[in-house]
């Protein structure tokens, strides 16, 4: 990194932090602090929703996914526009009419305080830990590739976020997210042009796309109905729909973004905007990964992107060197073969290149297996490191600083949305409900601010210890999918089955949660094979069915009807 990169990086980050704090320095009460006095227009809401969802790891690992497996990951988002429509039609009008601060507040009005506290607690537990991983995940990659101090990187990201989130509340989060999103998209589009620029002069962009296609990177859609394959159109439209319905409809870190809209209409258009541009945005990020793959046909990629950290013996080094030499020879042959392709290559012209690419992947796998044998702790999934490695090695000075600002902005915008929502839920669903129900604007505002600091410190704390426990990161990622199905089930009962009352909903929530935990136990012990996306569907369907059954068999039953 040169001085210019540092200047670009710090100027971008500091400007955004100061702008967000300055513009929102006058908060008088909790309403302004948590909902921004309902002043956001649809554009701010749309960008804010996207910025909360897209964390740093989105921009680091998505190009890596395309580099390794092509663009199939885009299918994961196919259910998102459908979720936006359902939330817009059924969830939003009720949240707005009841003027709630949090999604869980609605559940008390619809059911009872037990259901509200139960769902709010599940949210605080999973999101509080997840905020730590939002900070940790990019920090570990940055510290590995740039040699930065890991702890300092975590504290810096967390500290910046706490600074403007505490002082400006929800409005500061939305305003800064708008600019962070602008920097993120500007940086990614600029990177795209520079990656394509790196192709040899005689090699056109269209030839690059064609080459990527012949090597299997342009297959976006998988129509198979096999639930074993990771990303298919079917799993995106079903599992993805349930996941995004719970994330955008019931997770306070998203609900808070659109509750601050100046009208129901503004919030709806914001959601529609997200539904319209989210998939193209993911396609763009994946396509950048494909272009990095093409560029790496002419510039030799490292055999592994995540280097080992343990000291190897001379004989081990020799073994690795042997594989690397074969890898180098194969790469050079492949590079020359690609440069000698005719202008309009046929399937036959591509065949030897495909073979050499398979050989290259094979050497890479062998090398990783050896490393894994020498060092059991070696992290052999190196997809997250591909894009940043490319940026640091091949992009010009200044642009590296901009791309690092993109990664920091994405980490900060997601963390800010999470901290702000955690503080709101703690303030509204626990403090104002159980500890101090009276109205005292000054005191409530200060409690909201201190709770933001509290959750910020928790997030930094989780980030600092995440590296110590291998399983912690996995646990946090799983935690979300363990609770989402249950919470969504409770909300779906609330919206669509008006006859079901509080007790039935509460018991159904507990039963649904127990079923999901049991399934997870069976999966981890290797008895069953069920994907995480299915957890949401099973969890929510269980809650709905159990709630209806209990309500029917309970004394004083009312008819269980779907609201038409």
């Amino acid at each position: 990194m040169s001085w210019l990169d540092w200047v670009v990086l710090f100027l971008t980050l500091v400007t955004i932090v100061i702008y967000g704090s300055w513009k929102t320095r006058k908060n008088k009460d909790l309403e302004g602090y948590l909902k921004g006095n309902n002043s956001e227009n649809w554009m701010t809401i749309g960008l804010s929703i996207m910025a909360t969802q897209a964390s740093a790891i989105t921009f680091l690992s998505t190009p890596g996914k395309a580099y390794e497996d092509g663009m199939g990951f885009a299918q994961f988002y196919f259910g998102l526009p459908l979720a936006m429509i359902i939330i817009s039609a059924f969830f939003l009008p009720i949240y707005y009419r009841l003027k709630v601060f949090t999604a869980y507040e609605y559940l008390e009005r619809r059911f009872d305080v037990r259901v509200r506290a139960f769902t709010a607690f599940l949210f605080l537990l999973s999101r509080g830990l997840a905020a730590g991983i939002t900070i940790y995940a990019p920090s570990i990659i940055l510290s590995t590739l740039l040699g930065w101090n890991l702890e300092l990187t975590c504290v810096m990201i967390g500290g910046f976020v706490i600074f403007y989130t505490v002082s400006g509340g929800s409005r500061a989060v939305s305003l800064t997210q708008k600019w962070q999103m602008t920097i993120i998209m500007g940086g990614m589009i600029t990177a795209f042009f520079f990656v394509v620029q790196s192709f040899p002069e005689s090699f056109r962009f269209s030839q690059g796309v064609d080459l990527a296609g012949s090597l299997g990177k342009m297959e976006i859609i998988d129509l198979s109905t096999d639930f074993e394959s990771r990303y298919t159109m079917l799993s995106g439209l079903t599992g993805g729909l349930f996941l995004f319905l719970s994330y955008f409809g019931t997770d306070q870190s998203q609900v808070q973004r659109y509750l601050g809209g100046k009208s129901l209409k503004a919030s709806r258009i914001g959601l529609m905007f997200n539904g319209l541009v989210k998939i193209p945005m993911q396609i763009l990020i994946l396509f950048i990964g494909v272009m990095v793959f093409v560029s790496y046909q002419f510039n030799k990629p490292p055999i592994v992107f995540n280097d080992h950290t343990v000291q190897l013996t001379a004989s081990q080094e020799n073994e690795l060197k042997k594989i690397e030499n074969a890898y180098d020879v194969n790469f050079e042959e492949k590079r020359l073969a690609i440069l000698n392709l005719p202008e309009f290559p046929t399937e036959r012209d591509y065949a030897p290149i495909q073979e050499m690419q398979e050989k290259q992947d094979e050497y890479r796998t062998q090398y990783k297996e050896k490393l894994k044998n020498y060092d059991a702790d070696y992290e052999d999934k190196d997809g997250d490191y591909v894009f940043l490695t490319y940026v640091l090695n091949y992009l010009p000075t200044g642009l590296i600083g901009l791309l690092l600002a993109v990664i920091f902005s994405a980490a900060m915008s997601s963390t800010a949305g999470e901290l702000n929502a955690l503080a709101s839920t703690t303030t509204i669903d626990f403090y104002k409900k159980f500890i101090s129900p009276g109205d005292d604007d000054k005191r409530d505002l200060s409690v909201g601010k201190w709770l933001t600091v509290f959750w910020g410190l928790i997030a930094i704390g989780v980030a600092l210890v995440a590296g110590l426990f291998d399983n912690l990161i996995e646990l946090v990622n799983i935690l979300g999918s363990l609770f989402y199905g249950t919470i969504l089930g409770v909300f779906l009962v609330a919206f669509f089955f008006k006859g079901v009352k509080g007790t039935a909903a509460f018991i159904a929530g507990l039963v649904g949660q127990a079923v999901v935990l049991f399934i997870h136990l069976m999966v981890t012990t290797g008895n069953w094979d069920i994907g995480f996306l299915m957890y949401n569907i099973i969890g929510s369907v269980t809650v709905i069915l159990v709630a209806i059954c209990i309500q029917i068999f309970m004394p004083n039953k009312k008819s269980v009807i779907r609201e038409s």
């Binding site: 885009a74 859609i221 129901l264 529609m272 319209l276 193209p280």
Partner: protein, 35 residues
């Protein structure tokens, strides 16, 4: 809906579904071209 919002929301929803369908068709064509 509030009385002052004459927006045809069903039109918006159909538009969004049409946009999704259009994207899926384009991505299918790209996939088929290279598979």
């Amino acid at each position: 809906e509030p009385k002052d919002d004459p927006t045809n929301w069903n039109g918006w929803y159909m538009g969004l579904i049409a946009a999704l369908a259009f994207q899926i068709i384009v991505y299918l064509l790209i996939t088929n071209a290279y598979s």
